[in-house]
């Protein structure tokens, strides 16, 4: 691993954190769950001198609803906490379903929402659903706090728009309009553990089969997770039918810019984009027509087609 010279610090407040960062911002790793960072350290893909543990800062934890019904999720919320918190289950159940598709129980007990987003893999599972939800992140530093739209956070593969000395404090999810359905679909090769070959989130606000609002986001098909405005614009105001779905799927495919890597080829990823976006739209419509509000936990956000086999 990183040599014995690695230094570990565990501040117990944001104020303590800022004082640790006063003199030196070089080669610092912010440690959340460590499920990405520690593996990179072991594989010598990272050169760190200081490891600053954020888990001991209570201000970075917690989940609450503000008076505008925006859901605030502390950046150090673990994926297990995310997937079992009553407020998330009620107000943003797609995040519950998404978290449950990530890695394993053991990893979810440690990995955090902030870590997943700041690690900024193009395939980060939480990015597409949060992007379609128009999530905002709150960033803090010794100089104060700012909010930025999640879509501005990602600047490249593994790169985020945080300055040295800044730390993500919260993910804030705005309230959804009534009649809104959100689906997250993840396509791996296996039914568990895999990094997505392609992942997609679709959010539709429907009135019957008329699409009032649409948001579509893709992961693992571009240097960062992306929204697909062209497909969204196409769907907005249109009736959802086979043709409009096919066209939206195709627009999404054209917007994607996938590469070939160890997990999949660019061509196959393109096909998957279209398939997943089409499925996502179909499932939003199915949910809207079959279930009404509120949606039972197990069904929401889980692709029918991706459910584990009933043995």
């Amino acid at each position: 691993m990183a040599g014995k010279s690695l230094k570990y610090e565990a501040p117990h407040s944001l104020a303590e954190l800022w004082s640790l960062l006063e003199d030196d911002l070089e080669n610092i790793g912010f440690l959340a769950g460590g499920t990405d960072l520690l593996v990179k350290l072991k594989r010598k893909q990272l050169d760190l001198i200081r490891l600053i543990d954020l888990k001991t800062i209570e201000d970075l934890k917690g989940i609450w609803l503000d008076e505008n019904l925006r859901l605030h999720i502390g950046a150090l919320t673990t994926l297990t906490e995310l997937s079992t918190h009553p407020l998330v289950m009620k107000h943003s159940p797609v995040l519950v379903a998404t978290a449950r598709k990530m890695a394993s129980v053991q990893v979810r007990n440690r990995a955090t929402i902030g870590g997943n987003l700041c690690n900024a893999a193009p395939s980060a599972d939480l990015a597409p659903p949060l992007l379609v939800l128009d999530a905002v992140v709150k960033v803090v530093s010794g100089k104060g706090a700012r909010e930025l739209a999640l879509k501005s956070l990602f600047t490249g593969p593994g790169q985020i728009a945080l300055q040295p000395g800044e730390v993500m404090a919260e993910v804030i999810v705005p309230a959804s309009e009534p009649g809104t359905k959100v689906i997250y679909l993840k396509q791996g090769l296996r039914q568990a553990l895999d990094i997505a070959m392609v992942c997609a989130a679709v959010k539709l606000t429907l009135s019957g089969d008329l699409c009032q609002e649409a948001a579509i986001a893709l992961g693992a098909v571009a240097p960062t997770p992306i929204r697909v405005e062209a497909a969204e614009d196409w769907l907005r105001g249109r009736r959802i039918d086979t043709q409009s779905i096919a066209k939206a799927a195709d627009l999404a495919r054209l917007a994607a810019n996938p590469i070939s890597d160890v997990r999949a080829t660019a061509d196959y990823r393109s096909e998957l984009v279209a398939a997943l976006v089409a499925k996502g739209i179909q499932q939003c419509v199915m949910q809207a027509s079959e279930y009404g509000e509120p949606l039972p936990l197990v069904e929401v956000g889980v692709s029918r087609l991706d459910e584990g086999s009933d043995k």
Partner: protein, 765 residues
Amino acid sequence: MVTTLTRTIIGKSATKYDAFAKVTGEAQYIQDLTQPRMLWGKILRSSLPHARILNIDTSRAEKLLGVKAVLTAKDLSGRPIGFGNDNEILKGTKVRCVGDEIAAVAAVDEATALEAISLIKVEYEPLPGVFDPILALSDSSVLVHEGKGTNLSMDYHFETNIAALDAAMEQAAVILKDRFTLPFVTSASMGTHGCMAMFRNGELTMWTPTQVPFLYQHELMMALGIPGKRIRVIQPAIGGGFGAKLDMYPYEASCAHLSMVTGQPVKIVFTREEEFQASRPRQPMLIDLVTAADGEGHLLARTAKVICDNGAYNSWGATTPFVGMQTISSLYRVPNIRYDAQIVYTNNPYSSAMRGYGNPQHTFAVESHMDMLATKLGMDPLTVRLINANQSGDITPQNMKITSCAFSETLSEAGKNLGSLPSEAGKLRGKGLAGMIHVGGGARVYRSDGCGAVVKIDDMGRVVLLTGATDIGQGSDTVLSQIVAEVLGVDLKDVRVINNDSDLTYWDVGSHASRTTFVAGNAAKLAAEEVRTQIVNAAAEILKVGPDQLILKDNRVVVTNDPELFIELTKLIRAMHFRQDGKLLVGMAFYDPPTEMQDNKFMGNVSAAYSFGAHGVEVEVDTGTGVVKVLQVDAAHDVGKAINPLGIQGQIEGGCVMGLGYALSEEMKVREGRVINANFLDYRLLTCVDAPEIRGKIVESDEQQGPFGAKGVGEACCIPTAAAVANAIYAATGVRIKELPITPAKVLQGLNDLRKTTDNSEIEN
């Protein structure tokens, strides 16, 4: 041969012999062993696939505090090692694959050893590498072993009468010709490789999770140049083998040298990345198969041309065509055969013989063709197999003698409801079938296929079986204890099995070829029967009846016709022991099956029995994404006799899942000789969620030569699965895929191609 009339232990499910130690965490694997004053060893491995070594500078490593020894090739004799005598313990002049061993270090702890490795500077002159076996054959400008003048390492050829073969081809109503492409996959045992060496006072003790302790002992002797009688091999609990632990690896000889030089015990353990890059995978193959049949579906001829990517050195993988040939000649009745295989050197990782030993690759080809034949003739896939199925009494073109055989029954069991199945919108479902043949009564690939066993019973009733047979997790220890307990009429828990110390146990060629139940089982049975004979003779005198009127059961020797007349076993043994001219009860046997080494034309009955089986796989294909979900597997296996049904069920389930991984998700991606997915995230073993319901069906054909009728199943259960998956996908979608793994991308491509063909023909019409 003595038979007991009622079986009390054989055929009843038994819990695994060492399960207690494993569920409590007490079982000691190589990772867990230590010795006083033990040092940690590490190997410096080549990062280049092909290069000359210009210089190795170990000076900084040697000076590092805590480093006790640094070895390079100059410190060793340079004696060639390995299966093909084409390898070296440490490479001094040339590296031929990524992972090649260049230096070995021993230090006071693991971190220091790792640091020392990083301080060794190697100057390379990179050489062009060859990574494609076809190129390696055709272009001799890049030679992996210059001295050989060619990249062709070995050549196999088998044929029946060529004139008859040609005539059969002429007459054939159907001739199929296809290329099948099989990739690199790897054993990926959860327990990585490792060894611990202690050389003291002229004696070497090696702790190693080898599958073949006595062959290993011999290989060490050859590699180290020390007398074999000075070597003791001890096996800790083995965390999985699957063929990767058949070799003595070069690093193990280095470990021994490190101990020799330092005078202290030295342990080396592989990291997971090392396990992927530097352990022995399954051999990739290109199989050009031709299958010819008459209009009724009878097989007339089969020819195969196989090119095997051997990698940089010869290991057991270089002999996989020996087994593959048996698939081509003997899977189903085919009168005319021609087989050619070439083992080709490349700068890729070099293969051992992973579970199935070449059979999974060849069965994929043969069984894909059986379905394609059925389609061509408009026949049902089960029928076309049944009319060609091997039967008891057959002698195959290689003179393999089929004794017990329930092949047809396994095919029928697994082959119910084949073809396309009803499915919901956006999905296509289908079920496909594939069968297999494999050695089930040992495999004479070496001068001896024997196993030695000794059974002793003391006057307190404690029975010990000392056997050369290695348990690699498959449960041979349990089966052997059942056999001994049955023969002696004692409780299963009173039988101890010692199988892991070459000083205590008796020669066995090793755990491979699914031979342990059959060969070690027969050895244990014979040894126990020797003890039984002694017991029965002594009891006969005391009870005043003929020895043939006595049976051993419930820890007693009982008169068959008068069950009230008996003597307690321990009482009898005490009577035999504690007296003038007393006796200890020990029985010994060395069972070597009545088989033949194949001659230079590959003719000969290599095994005393053959195992058969069939898998019927049901899949659901998503037509939008190409993703294949396996819904269930019917796996029927002819095991002769199920000694431990629970153990067999576990083997079948495990084998099927490994076979499904081969079919759908596993591929070791090697680019310019480097494994680029050397981790569990991207080398995809199926998880609990992926594993479908496996419905194992045990079929018993009662093999006369087998212990209580049993034959092997350890490899059989992973051999036909991939072909069954390919056939199921065809049944569901009409897409025929001839290369593994069958990824969603390939399925989707196939579906798209089919749509285009259909669209085109609709346009044309």
